[in-house]
Subunit: 315 residues, 2 copies
Amino acid sequence: MSEPTIGELGEFGLIELITADLPETPAVVIGPGDDAAGVTLESPVLVTTDVLVENVHFRRAWSTGADLGRKAIAVNVADIEAMGGRAVAVTLALSAPPDTTVAWAREFAAGVRAECAAAGVALAGGDITGAGELVVSVTALGVTDGRAPVRRNGCRVGDVVAVRGRLGWAAAGLVVLGRGFRSPRVVVEAQRAPEVPYGAGAEAAEAGATAMIDVSDGLLADLGHLARASGVTIDVTAGAFEIPEPLQAVAAATGTDPLRLVLTGGEDHALAATFPAPDAVPDGWLVVGTVRAGDPAVLVDGEPWPDEDRGWKHF
Amino acid sequence: MSEPTIGELGEFGLIELITADLPETPAVVIGPGDDAAGVTLESPVLVTTDVLVENVHFRRAWSTGADLGRKAIAVNVADIEAMGGRAVAVTLALSAPPDTTVAWAREFAAGVRAECAAAGVALAGGDITGAGELVVSVTALGVTDGRAPVRRNGCRVGDVVAVRGRLGWAAAGLVVLGRGFRSPRVVVEAQRAPEVPYGAGAEAAEAGATAMIDVSDGLLADLGHLARASGVTIDVTAGAFEIPEPLQAVAAATGTDPLRLVLTGGEDHALAATFPAPDAVPDGWLVVGTVRAGDPAVLVDGEPWPDEDRGWKHF
């Protein structure tokens, strides 16, 4: 007997499955089930949308439904964090083939709920449609609690560059999975869903961060966005990074350069920010470089990094 | 020589193409190009997400890029209208096969811009990714300008039911296109992108609408949502509808019941609302029924409508 599918369950059954037992939050004054949700938010309202597409951003053979649900929420909340904001609510659109199993959808919904709980956000609404392949589109709404949003264009000459969160873990997981292995488990899990340092964005803003970005494409690529937006040169110090043990293991086993994983690996959704001085950098952040006058560029120990390694390609 | 593709153009080139010449609006304090957008919005902030998927909601053989761009914005703004709200900003996520032509993307962007201008909304941000098939996900943000949002659950016994906008036009277009024809052109165009009665939702709210919904699945199906949410019976008067000439033509040429098109055809994104009395109904709305005490149901002239015709199936 074949497993029940979401095509059999139907749109409204699937909506019920996903919205069952949603925690209520006071900010969401109208939740799922109307034409639009209503959310109490103080301006400026931060809004961001990130989409995960099957076989582009994830593979069902490598990720469970729960992994995908967690990742879809996490990558969007990370963008709100990167503005120095606090995410309040998300909408979720799931486009899925009708033969997707109900069991998968149930796992996906559990992952969504778990990550919403971890991030402190409410699922306010969304959309469900059929599709030829899985596509998950999330929009996150957030607030700045009275602080100015931290933009990409605020780096000043003399600032220090610091990071918070994992770098290279998801990329190491991809290397491992791509060769048919499932361990080290920590990097495989990091590939399936990131560990976003929730709250760190607001802390950085509070501490006076001058610019900030979510590291989704790879540290050098994303620092490049800061450098271009701010019109500065960012110089990263290779020696600042301690290579974590699992990355050393993956690098040794696969003949990969562990520093390359750290500097160019995407999908960990760490935060990279600039601060006016080393003593402004909050606890838990690692100082990894400096902001200098010069053409918009990112250097490693004063030298350009080979171009072919600059991060994630979206096509 | 083959046409340039978005895969060759790359993510950032495509973002530039879509965000070129965006009109600036004072509400959008941070526009595209940072981790999140920043928008000034008064609470309650209305938020809705609707996704259009290739071969589910549109076909590239039938719709141009411009049609799809217009439709993606319109169907989302319609959901804000249906809350009695005014849409302020949208985010747009485009997932597209790398071999999509740049010419198509240019048309799509023009359609997005045109409909944003018609609806008075700003494109605040978004995402671009590769995919196996085209998926467009839009989130619209809106405000109520001090009015209470108009929910689905507010119908009261004795209310009148009224509609504003087209009914059955898009369905007639689908019938025509499905048989390989391209005329009457007005219904084919209605299928490709709806004509949403922008501003009518706020007018209805101002006039005291007790409940409202966007007619996306078909009038009877969507009135069913009002009936269930409000715990009432809605009785529609078949004779209230004047069948427009193009629908008469399609019905005659294809052996279709024109009333069926009007009552069950989806995708026109008209508004259906209930008002306390006939004299509360604003100009431009057509009174088509009444709200009665009874089990949640939608009747036509006091009788159930055959079930197989109740509207759009999402899987």
